[in-house]
Protein backbone atom coordinates (compact mmCIF):
# COMPACT_ATOMS: atom_id res chain seq x y z
CA UNK A 1 0.00 0.00 0.00
CA UNK A 2 1.81 3.11 -1.16
CA UNK A 3 1.73 5.73 1.54
CA UNK A 4 3.16 8.49 -0.65
CA UNK A 5 0.63 9.31 -3.36
CA UNK A 6 2.31 10.61 -6.48
CA UNK A 7 2.04 14.39 -6.81
CA UNK A 8 0.73 15.10 -3.29
CA UNK A 9 2.33 15.80 0.04
CA UNK A 10 3.15 13.73 3.11
CA UNK A 11 0.82 11.41 5.03
CA UNK A 12 -0.09 12.36 8.60
CA UNK A 13 -2.32 11.17 11.40
CA UNK A 14 -5.15 13.14 12.90
CA UNK A 15 -4.07 11.89 16.33
CA UNK A 16 -0.94 14.03 15.97
CA UNK A 17 -3.10 17.17 15.80
CA UNK A 18 -5.08 16.37 18.94
CA UNK A 19 -3.63 18.33 21.82
CA UNK A 20 -1.16 20.20 19.56
CA UNK A 21 -0.10 23.66 20.78
CA UNK A 22 -1.82 26.54 18.96
CA UNK A 23 0.18 29.76 18.57
CA UNK A 24 -0.66 33.02 16.85
CA UNK A 25 1.57 34.39 14.11
CA UNK A 26 3.38 36.58 16.68
CA UNK A 27 4.20 33.53 18.80
CA UNK A 28 1.73 34.07 21.63
CA UNK A 29 0.22 30.78 22.82
CA UNK A 30 -3.52 30.45 22.25
CA UNK A 31 -4.22 26.98 23.73
CA UNK A 32 -4.42 23.42 22.43
CA UNK A 33 -6.28 21.66 19.65
CA UNK A 34 -9.29 20.00 21.36
CA UNK A 35 -10.87 18.69 18.22
CA UNK A 36 -10.51 18.69 14.45
CA UNK A 37 -13.57 19.75 12.48
CA UNK A 38 -14.10 17.89 9.20
CA UNK A 39 -16.13 18.97 6.20
CA UNK A 40 -17.73 16.91 3.48
CA UNK A 41 -17.90 13.18 3.99
CA UNK A 42 -16.67 9.82 2.89
CA UNK A 43 -16.81 9.35 -0.85
CA UNK A 44 -17.27 13.10 -1.41
CA UNK A 45 -14.37 14.78 -3.18
CA UNK A 46 -13.87 17.25 -0.29
CA UNK A 47 -13.58 15.09 2.83
CA UNK A 48 -11.12 17.47 4.42
CA UNK A 49 -10.02 19.14 7.63
CA UNK A 50 -12.16 22.26 7.91
CA UNK A 51 -10.78 23.80 11.10
CA UNK A 52 -9.70 23.29 14.70
CA UNK A 53 -11.57 23.59 17.96
CA UNK A 54 -9.09 25.20 20.37
CA UNK A 55 -9.34 25.06 24.17
CA UNK A 56 -7.12 26.08 27.07
CA UNK A 57 -6.28 22.60 28.31
CA UNK A 58 -5.12 19.49 26.47
CA UNK A 59 -7.92 17.45 25.00
CA UNK A 60 -10.53 19.65 26.59
CA UNK A 61 -13.76 17.93 25.78
CA UNK A 62 -13.68 16.39 29.28
CA UNK A 63 -17.10 14.89 29.08
CA UNK A 64 -16.97 14.20 25.38
CA UNK A 65 -20.28 16.05 25.33
CA UNK A 66 -21.29 17.06 21.86
CA UNK A 67 -20.91 20.81 22.10
CA UNK A 68 -23.68 21.50 19.70
CA UNK A 69 -26.45 19.21 20.81
CA UNK A 70 -26.07 20.55 24.34
CA UNK A 71 -29.26 19.09 25.68
CA UNK A 72 -29.90 16.96 28.68
CA UNK A 73 -29.63 17.39 32.43
CA UNK A 74 -29.08 20.93 33.65
CA UNK A 75 -26.13 19.88 35.84
CA UNK A 76 -24.35 18.27 32.87
CA UNK A 77 -24.91 21.36 30.69
CA UNK A 78 -23.31 23.47 33.41
CA UNK A 79 -20.33 21.08 33.64
CA UNK A 80 -19.95 20.98 29.85
CA UNK A 81 -20.16 24.76 29.51
CA UNK A 82 -17.49 25.08 32.22
CA UNK A 83 -15.27 22.58 30.38
CA UNK A 84 -15.70 24.38 27.08
CA UNK A 85 -16.12 27.96 28.23
CA UNK A 86 -12.88 29.11 26.62
CA UNK A 87 -13.29 27.07 23.41
CA UNK A 88 -12.41 28.93 20.22
CA UNK A 89 -12.56 27.92 16.59
CA UNK A 90 -9.91 28.31 13.86
CA UNK A 91 -11.30 27.95 10.33
CA UNK A 92 -8.91 26.32 7.84
CA UNK A 93 -8.11 29.57 5.95
CA UNK A 94 -6.78 31.02 9.23
CA UNK A 95 -4.28 28.17 9.63
CA UNK A 96 -0.90 29.47 8.51
CA UNK A 97 1.37 26.49 9.11
CA UNK A 98 1.47 23.08 10.87
CA UNK A 99 4.76 21.89 12.38
CA UNK A 100 4.04 18.16 12.64
CA UNK A 101 7.24 17.20 14.51
CA UNK A 102 6.90 19.89 17.17
CA UNK A 103 3.10 19.44 17.21
CA UNK A 104 2.54 23.18 16.81
CA UNK A 105 -0.16 24.86 14.73
CA UNK A 106 0.44 28.49 13.72
CA UNK A 107 -2.76 30.45 13.13
CA UNK A 108 -3.72 34.00 12.15
CA UNK A 109 -6.75 34.41 14.40
CA UNK A 110 -9.23 32.62 16.71
CA UNK A 111 -12.97 32.98 16.18
CA UNK A 112 -15.56 32.35 18.88
CA UNK A 113 -17.06 28.85 18.81
CA UNK A 114 -20.80 29.43 18.33
CA UNK A 115 -23.05 26.83 19.90
CA UNK A 116 -25.12 26.19 16.75
CA UNK A 117 -28.15 24.00 17.14
CA UNK A 118 -27.58 20.48 15.71
CA UNK A 119 -27.60 20.87 11.97
CA UNK A 120 -29.56 17.62 11.36
Amino acid sequence: MPTERPGTGAVHRLGELMGAVVVLADGTRAGHVNDVRLAGGPGLPDYVVDGFVVGARGEGALLGYDRRAVRGPWLLRVLVRAANRDARYVPWPAVRRIDWEAKVVVVDRLDPLEDERPSA
Partner: protein, 130 residues
Protein backbone atom coordinates in the same frame (compact mmCIF):
# COMPACT_ATOMS: atom_id res chain seq x y z
CA UNK B 1 -30.41 8.14 12.99
CA UNK B 2 -29.29 11.62 12.04
CA UNK B 3 -28.14 11.54 8.40
CA UNK B 4 -24.61 12.58 7.48
CA UNK B 5 -23.99 16.05 8.88
CA UNK B 6 -22.59 18.92 6.86
CA UNK B 7 -19.61 19.04 9.20
CA UNK B 8 -18.68 17.37 12.44
CA UNK B 9 -15.80 17.06 14.82
CA UNK B 10 -13.54 14.07 14.19
CA UNK B 11 -12.69 13.65 17.87
CA UNK B 12 -16.29 13.48 18.96
CA UNK B 13 -17.84 11.70 15.99
CA UNK B 14 -15.21 9.53 14.35
CA UNK B 15 -12.21 8.81 16.53
CA UNK B 16 -12.60 5.74 18.78
CA UNK B 17 -15.95 4.90 17.20
CA UNK B 18 -16.86 1.30 16.33
CA UNK B 19 -16.42 0.35 12.66
CA UNK B 20 -19.00 -2.15 11.41
CA UNK B 21 -19.18 -3.86 8.02
CA UNK B 22 -22.27 -3.95 5.84
CA UNK B 23 -23.58 -6.98 7.72
CA UNK B 24 -23.36 -4.83 10.86
CA UNK B 25 -20.57 -7.03 12.22
CA UNK B 26 -17.89 -5.22 14.25
CA UNK B 27 -14.58 -4.83 12.41
CA UNK B 28 -12.47 -2.65 14.73
CA UNK B 29 -12.43 0.82 16.25
CA UNK B 30 -11.29 3.99 14.52
CA UNK B 31 -7.97 4.05 16.39
CA UNK B 32 -6.70 6.96 14.27
CA UNK B 33 -7.36 8.73 10.97
CA UNK B 34 -4.92 9.05 8.08
CA UNK B 35 -4.64 12.55 6.58
CA UNK B 36 -3.18 13.18 3.16
CA UNK B 37 -1.72 16.57 2.25
CA UNK B 38 -3.26 17.51 -1.06
CA UNK B 39 -1.64 19.69 -3.72
CA UNK B 40 -3.70 22.67 -2.53
CA UNK B 41 -2.37 22.15 0.98
CA UNK B 42 -5.66 20.91 2.39
CA UNK B 43 -5.59 17.82 4.57
CA UNK B 44 -7.88 15.14 3.16
CA UNK B 45 -9.15 12.17 5.17
CA UNK B 46 -7.74 9.25 3.20
CA UNK B 47 -8.20 6.26 5.52
CA UNK B 48 -9.26 4.97 8.93
CA UNK B 49 -6.41 3.37 10.88
CA UNK B 50 -6.88 0.47 13.29
CA UNK B 51 -4.87 -1.68 15.69
CA UNK B 52 -2.16 -1.04 18.29
CA UNK B 53 0.03 0.59 15.66
CA UNK B 54 -2.55 3.36 15.38
CA UNK B 55 -3.85 3.46 18.97
CA UNK B 56 -0.41 3.30 20.65
CA UNK B 57 0.82 6.77 19.60
CA UNK B 58 -2.47 8.28 20.84
CA UNK B 59 -2.04 6.73 24.27
CA UNK B 60 0.36 9.05 26.11
CA UNK B 61 3.21 8.01 28.34
CA UNK B 62 5.07 4.74 28.71
CA UNK B 63 2.00 2.63 28.03
CA UNK B 64 1.61 4.14 24.56
CA UNK B 65 5.22 3.65 23.51
CA UNK B 66 5.25 0.18 25.11
CA UNK B 67 2.15 -0.82 23.08
CA UNK B 68 3.77 0.28 19.84
CA UNK B 69 7.04 -1.50 20.73
CA UNK B 70 5.31 -4.82 21.49
CA UNK B 71 3.15 -4.47 18.39
CA UNK B 72 6.24 -3.88 16.20
CA UNK B 73 7.97 -6.95 17.61
CA UNK B 74 4.93 -9.17 17.05
CA UNK B 75 4.42 -8.15 13.45
CA UNK B 76 6.36 -10.24 10.87
CA UNK B 77 7.26 -7.42 8.46
CA UNK B 78 10.17 -5.12 9.44
CA UNK B 79 8.29 -1.80 9.12
CA UNK B 80 4.68 -2.76 9.99
CA UNK B 81 1.81 -0.46 8.96
CA UNK B 82 -1.36 -0.19 11.11
CA UNK B 83 -4.61 -1.69 9.81
CA UNK B 84 -5.98 0.58 7.08
CA UNK B 85 -9.49 1.03 5.69
CA UNK B 86 -9.85 3.38 2.71
CA UNK B 87 -12.07 6.37 3.49
CA UNK B 88 -14.06 5.78 0.32
CA UNK B 89 -15.36 2.48 1.79
CA UNK B 90 -17.17 4.42 4.56
CA UNK B 91 -20.88 4.63 3.67
CA UNK B 92 -22.31 6.58 6.63
CA UNK B 93 -21.86 7.31 10.31
CA UNK B 94 -24.40 7.05 13.13
CA UNK B 95 -23.60 5.40 16.44
CA UNK B 96 -21.03 3.44 14.41
CA UNK B 97 -18.95 3.99 11.26
CA UNK B 98 -20.42 1.80 8.52
CA UNK B 99 -18.13 0.49 5.78
CA UNK B 100 -19.22 -1.23 2.57
CA UNK B 101 -16.61 -4.01 2.57
CA UNK B 102 -17.00 -7.32 4.43
CA UNK B 103 -15.06 -7.73 7.71
CA UNK B 104 -13.19 -10.72 6.28
CA UNK B 105 -11.81 -8.78 3.35
CA UNK B 106 -10.42 -5.92 5.43
CA UNK B 107 -7.59 -7.96 7.04
CA UNK B 108 -7.21 -5.60 10.02
CA UNK B 109 -7.43 -8.22 12.73
CA UNK B 110 -4.09 -9.98 13.08
CA UNK B 111 -4.58 -10.58 16.82
CA UNK B 112 -8.03 -12.11 16.15
CA UNK B 113 -6.59 -14.59 13.68
CA UNK B 114 -3.76 -15.41 16.08
CA UNK B 115 -6.18 -16.04 18.98
CA UNK B 116 -8.44 -18.08 16.69
CA UNK B 117 -5.67 -20.28 15.34
CA UNK B 118 -3.55 -20.69 18.49
CA UNK B 119 -6.25 -21.08 21.14
CA UNK B 120 -9.91 -21.07 20.19
CA UNK B 121 -9.82 -23.49 17.25
CA UNK B 122 -8.05 -26.02 19.45
CA UNK B 123 -11.09 -26.28 21.77
CA UNK B 124 -14.00 -28.56 20.70
CA UNK B 125 -17.18 -26.67 19.89
CA UNK B 126 -15.39 -23.60 18.55
CA UNK B 127 -17.56 -23.64 15.44
CA UNK B 128 -20.96 -24.01 17.08
CA UNK B 129 -23.05 -20.88 17.42
CA UNK B 130 -25.26 -20.19 20.44
Amino acid sequence: MTPLRASYDAGLHLLDRQIVDHEDLPVANVDDIELLERADGRLAVSALLTGPGALGPRTPGRLGSWTVAVWRRLRPDPDPRPGRIEARLVTHTDSAVHVSARARDLSVDGFEQWARAQVIEKIPGAGRAD
